[in-house]
Symmetry: C2
Subunit: 317 residues, 2 copies
């Protein structure tokens, strides 16, 4: 059984026997063919497959499945060639990464995924098929409640506070407040002369590397956990937006939380969970293992498949 999790930042491949035992695992660079080009994505998968299959006979592989962010039609054919080069008769079935994210947290055929990482999305899953998607529309106009969205809100609040004249010394508040946490993340030991110079400097640094804003989400969580009102407001807004996105697709069944913002314990996860009373909520675990489990499922009895789900997905990297 080969499971592939070809994501926007890395590719992970897990090799399992039919009873769930993990016999190989490897990671390589980004495997998103839309964002990084087909050739680069295929090369990353090839590298990970060679490492994960090392010492195993490819001819023994009976099923493979790849969860891919940004699927392109040519990918299935290209991956079949890579599999053939490793002595595996049949190439992997390709599925969206949102389905695999769901399966990484649930063995139920019907339910929903709620993801908040750099981006944000919700997906309805019906019979282990991706049935509907909400959001996942990018940071410029959407991805409401994502890490980027939370981090941008925090940077805006900090810039606004200094533009309104908050003293530069606020950067050195020893408490876990949003302003010093975010301000020091940008400025380090640098201390501009005036509040307005602080605002301008943070803006210039953010403009130079906008994706950096997503990393601020962890600081928002830390400040919110310490009771900072500005951070608490951002967290509550994010949870409202994520819950609204989920409501667009969720009909019944469990909700799987995925993405760094929702899989880590903290205020955002707590605020989202509080908005889902009576809904069974679980957390996405290993996605490569989940892909291997989904490949194995048709070969197992239903009860057996359910029983082994935790073995496949709980092994981690």
């Amino acid at each position: 059984m080969i499971g592939v999790d070809a994501g926007a930042t890395s590719t992970r491949i897990a090799v399992h026997t039919l009873d769930g035992t993990r016999v190989g695992y490897a990671r390589a660079g980004a495997g998103n063919p839309t964002a990084h080009g087909l050739d680069k994505a295929v090369a990353a998968v090839r590298e990970a497959l060679s490492a994960a299959l090392a010492g195993h006979d490819g001819g023994q592989v009976v099923a493979s499945l790849a969860g891919v962010a940004g699927h392109v039609p040519e990918l299935t054919r290209e991956l079949a060639k890579v599999w053939a080069d490793h002595g595996v008769a049949e190439g992997p079935r390709c599925e969206g990464d949102l389905l695999i994210g769901y399966v990484a947290g649930s063995a139920e055929p019907d339910g929903a995924l709620l993801l908040s990482g750099t981006g944000a999305a919700a997906a309805r899953i019906t019979g282990f098929r991706l049935d509907a998607v909400a959001d996942a529309l990018g940071w410029l106009l959407a991805d409401a409640g994502s890490g980027f969205w939370i981090g941008r809100a925090a940077a805006m609040a900090v810039v606004d506070a200094f533009d309104r004249g908050l003293p530069v010394t606020a950067l050195d508040d020893p408490a876990d407040r949003l302003v010093p946490l975010v301000g020091r993340d940008f400025l380090g030991a640098e201390r501009p002369d005036t509040p307005r110079a602080v605002a301008s400097r943070v803006v210039r640094l953010a403009q130079a590397a906008p994706m950096r804003l997503a990393t601020l989400a962890a600081l928002v969580s830390r400040a919110a956990a310490a009771g900072d009102p500005m951070a608490v407001t951002i967290v509550e807004d994010a949870a409202d937006r994520l819950a609204a996105t989920l409501r667009r697709v969720h009909v019944s069944g469990p909700v799987v939380l995925a993405g760094s913002v929702l899989t880590s314990e903290g205020p955002v996860r707590a605020a989202v969970t509080a908005r889902l009373p009576g809904v069974p909520v679980s957390t996405a675990r290993d996605a490569a293992g989940a892909a291997a489990w989904l490949a194995a499922r048709p070969l197992l009895a239903e009860d057996e498949a359910k029983a082994l789900h935790g073995v496949f997905t709980g092994l981690g990297p």
Copy 2:
């Protein structure tokens, strides 16, 4: 008298006699040395100066003043060379474009500017000097209430409406509603198959050219004037933000409204004006003429200068 308005999109130069008569006017490309580089900015000013001074004796120029977006220290020296090449003994004094924007709407030494064009800013003017600035901090994290901010809010609302399942046929609503106005601006005659495909397509087009979002502000005004509730909300939010930015700097005296969002009659201008009860509000007119007036002011008696303000600034291009 030479007045220069060296802006982020174009450079305009006006040549006036001391009684306000305009004897030359020309425009050239962008003259912002920070955004476009010193060489390009100086070249644009040189081109405009040659055209505006054509047929005049540079030796007769007694004073010059340049309003410059994004001043850099070397600029004064470089412009002095350009002036010398045109036979003008003394190069222009350089001032910020926010001061010139204010002077384009007021002959009072103390007051404030509120600007909403592509960006947004407020400035306090004291004795015809730039005393304090609020916002002007860029579209990624600030410029609250700017054309970009308004257009982005509109695009977000439209993307969100389609992601929530608004039928594709809503694009063809003949009324001045926000959704069809903005949707058709992006898609033209193109009609994707599903609401979600509409949302994705608008997102992709906006990501390809983010600055295009600023041009949507005019459509928001049109929809708000026709009573579209989504557009009215965006306009009210923008006016709240602009009024808050102004309050950070405005102490006393008139408020000059500048920038395409505030100089054109319409819902944003009306909503902002409604938030300034009892404050004398005027509108920025010709900025190159305003720069020429500010250059002429020390050479005129105070009453005379006030009386001629409208002549200098009201002539337009």
